[in-house]
């Protein structure tokens, strides 16, 4: 009897099933390895695939953020706008507010209000001509978040972020 034939004594074996199990096992290892590599590349959070900068065509506004984030794990947005030396209104789209809880904002806005346009923040002028805003936020809803970040008088920037559960 061949080694891989099914025996019936002392137990009933099913070697074809056993072989399929082994194949499935090996496929499973490959999948786990692939997931690990994808994670290292940043497909799930923090990494070259995840980090991105959205810019307007004239490069006047840039938003640095992560494409892939986790629900409940904090993520950062850095908004930079050139050549602004007056009070400025920044608007975060409604789905931004619906998907993320803002935990940190530097600098603090001098005024803020919310409406069906989203969250509107007014920042004091800085001495440098650049406006730099850092927002730390915690995703609270999983799924694809598409929103706009707009600075008054400039083209809005489209932001898309995938929030893993």
């Amino acid at each position: 009897m061949d080694e891989f034939d099914s025996r019936s004594h002392p137990i009933q074996e099913d070697m074809p099933f056993q072989r399929r199990t082994w194949i499935a096992e090996r496929i499973g290892w490959v999948i786990m390895g692939a997931l690990l590599l994808a994670a290292l590349a940043g497909l799930f959070f923090h990494g070259p695939l995840s980090h991105t900068i959205a810019r307007t065509s004239d490069n006047a506004i840039a938003v640095e953020y992560e494409r892939f984030v986790h629900k409940t794990a904090r993520t950062d947005f850095r908004i930079r706008a050139d050549g602004i030396s007056r009070e400025i209104l920044v608007r975060l789209g409604p789905s931004f507010v619906a998907s993320l809880d803002i935990e940190v904002m530097m600098p603090k806005p001098v005024r803020s209000s919310a409406g069906n346009q989203g969250l509107e923040l007014v920042f004091a002028p800085s001495n440098a001509a650049d406006l730099l805003i850092h927002i730390g936020a915690r995703p609270k809803r999983s799924g694809l978040m598409r929103t706009q970040i707009a600075i008054e008088g400039r083209d809005p920037l489209n932001i898309a972020q995938l929030i893993y559960p």
């Binding site: 080694e3 891989f4 025996r7 002392p10 137990i11 074996e13 099913d14 070697m15 099933f17 056993q18 199990t21 082994w22 499935a24 096992e25 499973g28 290892w29 786990m32 409940t72 559960p165």
Partner: protein, 153 residues
């Protein structure tokens, strides 16, 4: 609702991972396996509970996991093929004193591990004294020694 779905997802993902890792992984635990198991427990615990540390949530998680387990065990009684799929099957790895090396290889076992098991369970010294060694679905190795010579001796 969230809690129940999350628990079910974790249950089946853990099942898949443990099944794929091969059956001898956790049955014969080394010190390191134990540490690994604790880490797996700690990591999944956070995912199971989310940020809700209430008693209600804990009860829902426990209830879902236990009930899933019970339902699956009932289904396995009704449908034996399901049991085969979920738990795997026992397999003979030593036959009439002859180790089946191909099988041992595929199951990531060594002759030495079979002999160690034979020593522990029956005080056997060599492969020739083993009539059958069976790798159980649980990952343990059962040893059936030759006849009654051993017990008579």
């Amino acid at each position: 609702m969230d809690t129940v779905i999350r628990s079910l997802v974790i249950y089946f993902v853990l099942w898949a991972v443990l099944r794929v890792s091969g059956r001898r992984t956790l049955a014969k635990m080394t010190n390191f396996d134990l540490v690994l198991l604790l880490i797996v427990g700690g990591v999944t615990q956070r995912a199971l509970l989310g940020q809700d540390y209430s008693v209600t949530n804990a009860l829902l998680v426990v209830g879902t996991l236990v009930l899933t387990d019970v339902i699956l065990s009932l289904l396995q009684r009704e449908f034996p093929p399901l049991s085969k799929l979920l738990n795997g099957e026992p397999m003979i790895v030593v036959e009439e004193g002859q180790p089946l090396l191909g099988r041992l290889n595929r199951a990531r076992l060594t002759v030495e591990q079979v002999l160690a098991s034979a020593r522990r369970s029956h005080g056997l010294e060599s492969m020739e004294e083993i009539k059958y060694a069976i790798l159980e679905a649980s990952g343990e190795i059962s040893i059936i020694p030759y006849g009654n010579q051993k017990s008579a001796a």
